[in-house]
């Protein structure tokens, strides 16, 4: 598996241009504007909660932010657990993941609605400001209901697994509002499926490049004979193009249970309705809903 960086970091610059301040990565104490790198006590001491990894603290290197582009809340950083998704399955990526950027969730007063939601709704996979603990002599926890490290006492493994499962049942747990959205990605012919967190991407381009990297081992193998030069070429084109050339289509199952072609609706709408992804052979598409076929035709 390749390392992530190039495409993603360029996307991250793009996002800054887009001024997504609300979701911008910030470092510092809750309520502060500081993007100081110095750790205050707002920071979780022990990162064990994060996917039972020992990622204690945060990386200063924005390039190592495997969560491309989207500057998301702390909970996202955590819930984008290393078990899942393309970013983290390779050994090298695991190292990458260890330097993941962490920062304390901002206090209730600061930041937009989005951040508040993150705080209140996220699983305790989010290591919380230790302040919550410090105030333990009966004083109340901050208004943002910061959770306390290691409380309730659930093992990280269980928390992470359940967080993943929760995100699948969007209907059931409407109020969970987890800011992660894991969907399974299966590819016909691949021996196992993967999961990606759709919230880590901001656009189809990012998603497709991520999927391409995730499944490149299969496509390269399959299509070496077609004269593709392998990784160099692949890195140039999106999976969509590749799929077009090799007659794979990227489809998704939406909330209504219909299989649709990826790429037709605005990105936000797509992430809201996508339940799972499937990279299927174009020839199989004929067995699915007519819409898909029609769209295939339109694309080709």
């Amino acid at each position: 598996m390749d390392k992530i960086p190039d495409k993603l970091s360029s996307s991250s610059e793009k996002n800054e241009v887009l001024n997504l301040e609300e979701t911008e990565l910030r470092l510092g104490l809750p309520g502060s504007e500081v993007s100081d790198k110095k750790a205050g006590n707002g920071f979780p001491l022990f990162g064990k909660d994060l996917k039972d990894e020992t990622n204690n603290g945060f990386s200063q290197n924005p390039l190592k932010n495997i969560f491309s582009g989207a500057k998301r809340g702390f909970s996202d950083a955590i819930d984008g657990s290393y078990k899942w998704g393309l970013c983290i399955n390779g050994g090298s990526e695991v190292d990458l993941g260890k330097n993941d950027v962490l920062f304390s969730p901002r206090g209730g007063g600061n930041g937009g609605v989005k951040n508040t939601n993150i705080l209140q709704s996220c699983q305790p996979t989010t290591p919380q400001p230790v302040e919550g603990k410090k105030n333990e002599n009966g004083s109340t926890t901050p208004a943002s209901k910061a959770q306390v490290v290691g409380w309730p006492p659930i093992r990280s493994f269980r928390k992470n697994t359940l967080a993943t499962n929760l995100s699948r049942n969007n209907d059931v747990t409407g109020k969970s509002g987890l800011d992660c959205l894991y969907v399974k990605v299966s590819m016909d012919g691949a021996p196992y499926l993967r999961k990606v967190d759709l919230k880590t991407y901001c656009s189809y381009a990012e998603l497709s490049s991520a999927l391409e990297k995730m499944f490149s081992c299969f496509t390269i193998g399959q299509y070496a004979s077609h004269g593709l030069r392998g990784k160099e070429e692949l890195s140039e084109c999106h999976l969509m193009d590749l799929l077009d050339r090799t007659e794979y289509v990227l489809t998704y199952e939406d909330k209504d249970g219909d299989w649709m072609l990826v790429g037709d609706v605005p990105w936000e709408m797509f992430t809201d309705s996508c339940k799972r992804l499937r990279i299927m052979k174009g020839s199989d598409a004929s067995g699915l809903a007519p819409r898909v076929i029609e769209k295939c035709k339109n694309q080709n």
């Binding site: 490290v149 409380w151 309730p152």
Partner: protein, 642 residues
């Protein structure tokens, strides 16, 4: 399948760091020459030791006299090390020569909840070095909360050619690469179990590394391995493992793949079902596999788990085996009461049941009605938040207490509780040995009366006379602790969080509970004077943990001074300039025969009473730690030569 279960007795013994382990010869033996060790060995071995399997019995035997001590040491084959730092590996290998099975536990339990820095210690390496020299005939290795590297696994595979059982629970530091080496190197392996461990995904196809011939695998548990595996290789492995009885798959195994495995291994007794959902969408018109018949064919199945990403519609496939099940773990299955009922009403032999609170009180009522033989219940929260809705409550607890009278062990997470329900359980379930109630809101009182939960827990310790393990929660005053001290005479393990008013609380415990071995306290207002109240008892304990309490550095130093046999570890977060705290963040102390450990993160040794240092990234540590986060790990021990 237990979390935190007491280690199944391997039959070995703990190397208790008691001063009495080295006992001089019997007082009354002055008048004749002691028989030679060989003779003693012969007699003792024949008459006594061969009957002693329990480690406590063996410990007692070893205290009789020097000859018995030596004979016992030469014949003990199963070792239990409850705290890897309580004794050095070398001391162990010097004393016990013939060890075939060893269990080693490392980090304290609160490390599961991120309360310890990641590279705190509990490295398997030093133990492995010593054992590789002395215990080449090792057959069984059990590790819990240890840090194990791929190199360790490789070295172990080389050092223990006849290793038959490798079980790692809550371990970390290794990956699928290490597993590949174990698979290929441990040719005699019968039991390979990884539970709740953090296994890195090195993308190694470790399943393919098992030898090609028929294996002697009996138990293969890898449900915690969060990495895709080579299914075809797994299928072939199962096909050539005729002795396989326990198989627990990870969530990367779809239900279709599960089916294929089940039809190859109908002899299974324990099955972890993996994701329990399909890999791909089943195209319209395609026949779904007959999962029901696959389960029906597994007539020996008594233990089911997995269901990691269950699609509830598939749950009905397990009906054929429900009637035989003694253990069912649905604690990753987000199902509701209606989905549970048809299953649970068939499980009349069930003794162990783990479930998510998504089944709500109503589901628990169904359990209570159906599972009259239930011994162990664990109810986990879907949302582990303090302010979540909480579908289970005192209603569920009460129902269980009324229906499941044989209950011995309960772990119950909830958002609200009443004293009345807890009292009822204390009266209905007199066989309770383990009572762990976690009211997730901190300091939450009885939600009907508004009172503290003192009376409920008091009733538990008073009425449940077999109780050895207790975890308390909710709003608790010192009174609760007075009850525990008064009645908890058999209590060995106690977990306290966000409880108590004054030092009295802890004093009651330390003065009242003579059997207390493991005491873990967090965020409770207990200070130095309470700490001193336990001086008489700390040598009898495996450890004491206190985090975010009111213990000071001076208090810790004083304890270390007065009790030279203790290792006192203190962790203090470095703070900003303007921020001070008189209290230490974490105190972890334990008895040790061999003094402070040398592998605490970045210790700088000062030639004085104290050994302390700053933590930063350890090069051995697999995971990097941001430099700007610092804490200080101090280890106090008086400077006494050993």
């Amino acid at each position: 399948m237990s979390e935190d279960e007491e280690l199944p007795d391997l039959g070995g013994g703990s190397t208790r760091s008691s001063n009495s382990t080295a006992v001089s010869g019997g007082g009354g033996d002055h008048n004749y020459v002691s028989p030679s060790p060989d003779q003693v060995l012969e007699n003792v071995l024949e008459n006594v030791l061969c009957f002693l399997t329990s480690r406590r019995d063996r410990n007692a035997a070893s205290l009789v006299c020097k000859s018995w001590y030596r004979a016992e040491a030469l014949t003990r084959s199963e070792l239990f090390i409850g705290n890897c730092y309580s004794v050095s590996p070398r001391r162990v290998t010097n004393r016990f020569r013939l060890v075939k099975a060893i269990a080693i536990k490392g980090k304290p339990r609160f490390s599961d909840f991120s309360l310890l820095p990641p590279d705190w210690g509990a490295h398997f390496g030093p133990w492995l070095s010593a054992m590789s020299r002395s215990y080449r005939a090792l057959e069984k290795l059990y590790l819990k909360r240890m840090s194990v590297t791929d190199d360790d696994l490789s070295f172990a595979a080389q050092s223990f050619p006849i290793l038959k059982e490798l079980v790692m629970v809550c371990c970390e530091g290794f990956g699928t690469g290490g597993l590949a080496i174990v698979a290929s190197g441990c040719r005699e392996i019968r039991v390979l179990e990884l539970m709740d461990s953090d296994v890195g995904d090195d993308e190694a196809d470790w399943i393919s590394c098992f030898p090609d011939n028929v294996t002697c695998l009996e138990s293969f548990v890898f449900d915690c391995v969060e990495a895709p595996i080579n299914f075809e290789a797994l299928e072939r492995l199962v096909a050539r493992s005729p002795s396989l009885k326990k198989l627990r798959l990870n969530c990367y195994i779809s239900i279709g793949q599960l089916y294929r495995l089940m039809i190859r291994a109908p002899q299974l007794t324990h099955l972890g079902t993996g994701s329990f959902s399909p890999l791909e969408i089943v195209a319209q018109g395609e026949q779904e596999l007959n999962y029901f018949s696959a389960f029906a064919a597994c007539k020996s199945l008594i233990c089911l788990s997995g269901f990691r990403e269950i699609i509830p519609d598939y749950l009905s496939a397990i009906y054929p085996v429900c009637g035989n099940l003694t253990s069912l773990n649905l604690s990753y299955a987000n199902i509701n009461a209606e989905q549970l009922k048809p299953v649970i009403c068939l499980c009349h032999k069930l003794q162990t049941f783990w479930v998510l609170d998504s089944v709500s009180d109503e589901g628990l009522q169904a359990v209570s009605a159906a599972c009259k033989d239930l011994r162990e219940l664990r109810v986990f929260p879907v949302q582990a938040l303090e302010d979540a809705e909480g579908p289970v409550s005192e209603v569920g607890l009460l129902a269980i207490s009324e229906g499941c009278r044989k209950l011995q062990s309960i772990l119950y997470f909830c958002q609200r509780m009443t004293n009345a329900a807890v009292v009822a359980m204390s009266k209905n379930c007199l066989d309770l040995v383990v009572f762990r109630l976690c009211i997730m809101g901190r300091h939450r009182p009885d939600h009907i009366t508004g009172e503290p939960m003192d009376e409920g827990f008091g009733a538990i310790v008073k009425n449940c006379k077999k109780l050895t393990r207790l975890a308390v929660s909710g709003l608790l005053t010192d009174r609760a602790f007075s009850y525990i001290g008064q009645y908890g005479k058999l209590l060995r393990t106690l977990s306290v969080a966000f409880a108590g008013n004054t030092d009295l609380g802890l004093k009651y415990l330390l003065e009242g509970c003579p059997k207390l071995q493991k005491l873990e306290i967090r965020d409770s207002p207990f200070g130095d004077s309470a700490l001193f109240a336990g001086l008489h008892h700390y040598y009898n304990m495996r450890f004491l943990w206190m985090s975010s309490c009111k213990v000071t550095r001076q208090g810790c130093e004083e304890i270390a001074r007065q009790l030279p046999g203790l290792v006192v570890e203190v962790i203090t977060r470095d703070r900003e300039e303007n921020e001070t705290s008189e209290y230490v963040d974490t105190l972890y102390m334990y008895r040790s025969l061999d003094g402070p450990r040398a592998d605490a993160p970045r210790l700088m040794v000062r030639p004085s009473l104290m050994i302390c240092g700053k933590h930063c990234t350890s090069t051995e540590c697999r995971f990097s730690i941001a430099r700007s986060l610092d804490f200080t790990l101090s280890v106090w021990v008086p400077c006494i030569s050993r």
